[in-house]
Symmetry: C2
Subunit: 347 residues, 2 copies
């Protein structure tokens, strides 16, 4: 693997100093004649600047990392999909860290910021921002955008912007809708209470019931994981315990898929017997049959917002931390209404 030409090679061939070469290549004012000579030499040698050397000198890498629990999760895919073009547009490369939900890994990424291999980080911590996260962020002294909730008391040194959604309102929208179509025994299939979304959605469910003057019934609640098979297990358990349930609120779309599987298997009509609502409004929601009514937490919008905040901070320097709240909305599909004539739409 022979070495490519460097600025020095060009300087020799053009008969000028490396400083001149650098100036020409960076478009700094230089005599016409010199410019031509350097350009010519660079062309002939097929010169390409070494980005590592440039990074070392300029103290910037033009790279940004995005850390998430699982790149297989459609929610994160939607975010990456929005983030990538914005970063590219601004001249940054994108690094992906899929932490597998491993808290140690997540912290590893945060601590890794100190190696300065990226200029900034977007992170979506599954289990919330702990004391250790905060420590690592402060020590990093590189801008970080957190997607998800933040502890109340971020210390001053922390360069943290925040994008969050309001799953409380999201759950509320879903339950209002279910109530409006006449459902009164609304079950809830949640994810782990140890996760931020899990905890928030649990609280939101109780609140929403209260607002609707519906009783809270433990038998109508089941906790599992945020996956399809876990959703199926939970649905089976809940249906066995409370056969009279007439709607299922699911803490994400995958759980809802599992619930749909079980309802079909048991011959219960959706939405006739049981209406189903998912959460996240992923691509999957328009693929199921019946299509899935789902609470959109604006994944794409959250991705865009996060990228925007980070780029703004990188380009315009220090400023007060900002918070962007993305409003949830409800996308009503077949699982809570009568079968539509024409389903689907593009993904």
């Amino acid at each position: 693997m022979t070495e490519g030409p460097t600025i020095t090679t060009i300087a020799q061939r053009a008969g000028v100093s490396i400083a001149s070469v650098s100036r020409v290549l960076n478009g700094l004012p230089t005599r016409e004649d010199t410019v031509r000579r350097v350009m010519r030499a660079a062309d002939e040698l097929g010169y390409v600047p070494n980005s590592v050397a440039r990074s070392l000198r300029n103290r910037r890498t033009d790279q940004i990392a995005f850390a998430m629990a699982d790149i297989g999760n459609p929610v994160y895919v939607a975010m990456v999909r929005e983030v990538q073009p914005l970063l590219k547009e601004a001249g940054y490369r994108l690094l992906i860290h899929s932490t597998d939900g491993d808290a140690e890994d997540e912290l590893g990424v945060l601590r890794g910021l100190r190696e300065r291999y990226v200029d900034g980080l977007i992170i979506s911590p599954l289990r919330g921002v702990t004391e250790e996260h905060v420590e690592a962020i402060v020590a990093a002294r590189a801008p970080v955008v957190v997607i998800g909730s933040l502890p109340e008391d971020m210390p001053d040194g922390a360069l943290v912007d925040n994008v969050r959604t309001d799953s409380r309102t999201g759950v509320r929208l879903a339950l209002d809708h279910l109530h409006a179509i006449g459902r009164r025994r609304i079950g809830f299939l949640n994810g782990p209470l140890g996760t931020v979304p899990g905890a928030a959605r649990a609280a939101a469910y109780r609140e929403a019931l209260e607002a609707l003057d519906l009783p809270y019934d433990e038998d109508l609640v089941e906790v599992g994981d945020f996956y399809r098979d876990s959703g199926a297990r939970a649905a089976r358990a809940l249906l066995a315990r409370a056969p009279g349930v007439d709607a299922l609120m699911c803490a994400n779309d995958l759980i809802a898929l599992g619930a749909l599987d079980v309802l079909r298997e048991q011959g219960r009509d959706v939405p006739g017997d049981v209406a189903v609502v998912g959460m996240d409004d992923t691509d999957l929601a328009s693929v199921t049959w019946p299509t899935l009514t789902s609470v959109s937490l604006g994944s794409a919008e959250r991705g865009r917002a996060a990228a925007g905040l980070l780029l703004d901070r990188l380009q315009n320097g220090p400023r007060e931390p900002r918070v962007v709240v993305v409003r949830p909305s409800l996308t009503i599909r077949g699982s809570t209404t009568l079968p539509e004539a024409s389903p689907g739409g593009a993904r």
Copy 2:
């Protein structure tokens, strides 16, 4: 943003030279006492090595890029999902380039290799490897793995490994299956003939028909894009032209989704009236109703293979280019058999 400690800071505090610090930090043999002093200083200062400086000196970045058409496509997500942990395990970071199917962009990534911001590249070019691709790869002098097909005559300097699948056999598997369940008028919904998969699958369809002694009928073929709504349009056109069709072979799962939409809309039973087969066997296939029989082209396996080849070359140095062919297989689901009792499974 104050500057962090460098090797020099540590050297001062520990009262030794920077060479000693480096040696200690890299675990080279050093006197016990010096080791302690350096370690102590490093700890106290919270030293973290600067990865850019290290890269410059070591001429390696510990980064690998993966370039694909669209990170939103489940096929690529499946690949990334496999690639990421393998790279992490080997100590590499992962960069993602989603080129949007833009050929210029794709070449940009390839040319960018010469900036040496990554040690290697996995690329899946949508429209095949052109003359220009080859040029860029040779000039890059960095190892590249291409997922997809390669021109016959790669020049010697090109450090290219290759992972491909055999969509010909894949289509064949699907048509054999359809034939075996008694279908004789098998339609084909393809993607653009200008793409590598599109062209290959078109040829494979003709061959497979021939092998089965079925006539090739132009009315049974429709060409569109690899997306759901395009698939729907194509299905509608084909059904109008050839109402007697009893099976639809789709060039990918998204097209198949569109086809399922239309069949449902027209009240045709799947698989009773029309059987449907998709291709790629993405996560979506187990979500539809009926679940979708699909040709698996081993996305996950291709991802693993690509990562394996690249890592091998990076770790063990130059060697003959290798080719890995991943065998396709057929995953039979509800869209070609009677409705199952229990659908689904984990995603």
